[in-house]
């Protein structure tokens, strides 16, 4: 396999793992969102690598990258909306204090 593709995929895997750690370990809503951003960044790296090294003539791969970038922006927008509502109601965005939302 091409070393370039391997490096890109391993970078994506590492970012995905760091993102999982961040999303699960952090108690602050904004920090949890940072973890999710890193997971999505891992997916982005993989998508660009697949486009570049496996299917450079098919632009559906680049299209998929744009969709993932949109999802990243939307996650931020809705996440900050929830953060503002939570801060207004409780004065904090610490998820330890949001046990009532636990299923």
């Amino acid at each position: 396999m091409s070393p370039d593709l391997m490096i890109a995929l391993l970078t994506g895997a590492a970012l995905f793992g760091i993102g999982i750690y961040g999303a699960l370990s952090q108690t602050n809503l904004v920090m949890i969102m940072m973890g999710v951003e890193l997971m999505l960044a891992g997916a982005l790296v993989n998508l660009v690598a697949f486009w570049r090294f496996l299917h450079p003539d098919s632009y559906a791969g680049q299209m998929f990258v744009l969709i993932v970038m949109t999802v990243m922006a939307l996650e931020m927008a809705v996440g900050f909306g929830v953060a503002i509502a939570r801060f207004r109601a409780k004065g904090s965005v610490e998820m330890e204090e949001a046990q009532a939302l636990k299923g």
Binding site: M1, S2, P3, D4, I7, L9, L10, T11, G12, A13, A14, L15, F16, G17, I18, G19, I20, Y21, G22, L24, S25, Q26, T27, N28, V30, M31, M34, E37, L38, A41, G42, V48, W51, R52, F53, L54, H55, P56, D57, Y59, A60, Q62, M63, L66, M69, T70, M72, A73, L74, M76, A77, V78, F80, G81, V82, I84, A85, F87, S92, E96
Partner: protein, 175 residues
């Protein structure tokens, strides 16, 4: 014979930088530093895209993430009890489970990357101008429905985020 090309070196360099700054996000007590580390991580990935000859996506990534992370840094200062990290507050929970899940997720995805037969690898990529033209054709042709759906989803998310963030309206009590 050089085994590693300049492109490989740049991809590896920016990949390592992206991962290193990604780790730094969760290793600093200062929330501002976390936001900046995430910004640098995403910028390194944008540079990695440029090294992979995806010029449009690389520039888009850098521009989008610079804006997004700046907004995130502002929210950090607004909402955090200790944005500077001077109080050394403990901001984590279930650490062991998180580390295990993170390592398991990374190993699983790395395993898929290593043990899958990906087929022939293309040595060349279309030039930047052709990429932009073809992506535009893709957006307004075969993938138009998906593109339009993304637009409607953005509008929905904007309305939802505003509705959630607005204070509840005071109801008029019946006389």
């Amino acid at each position: 014979m050089t085994l590693l090309s300049l492109q490989t070196l740049f991809i590896a360099f920016f990949g390592v930088a992206g991962v290193a700054f990604g780790v730094a996000v969760f290793r600093t007590a200062s929330m501002m530093r976390s936001a900046l580390a995430l910004l640098f991580s995403q910028t390194a990935l944008g540079a990695m895209f440029l090294a992979m000859q995806a010029e449009f996506l690389g520039v888009l990534q850098i521009m989008m993430m610079a804006t997004e992370m700046s907004i995130m840094a502002i929210f950090m200062v607004m909402f955090m009890m200790d944005p500077g990290g001077l109080g050394e507050m403990e901001m984590t929970h279930q650490k062991r489970l998180s580390i295990f899940a993170g390592i398991a997720g990374a190993l699983a995805t790395a395993g898929i990357a290593l043990f899958t037969e990906w087929g022939a690898v293309s040595a060349t990529a279309p030039d930047a101008a052709l990429q932009v033209r073809e992506l535009g054709t893709e957006l307004l042709g075969r993938s138009m429905l998906i593109f339009e759906t993304a637009g409607v989803t953005i509008l929905t998310a904007m309305i939802a985020a505003t509705a959630v963030a607005m204070p509840a309206l005071a109801r008029k009590k019946p006389a």
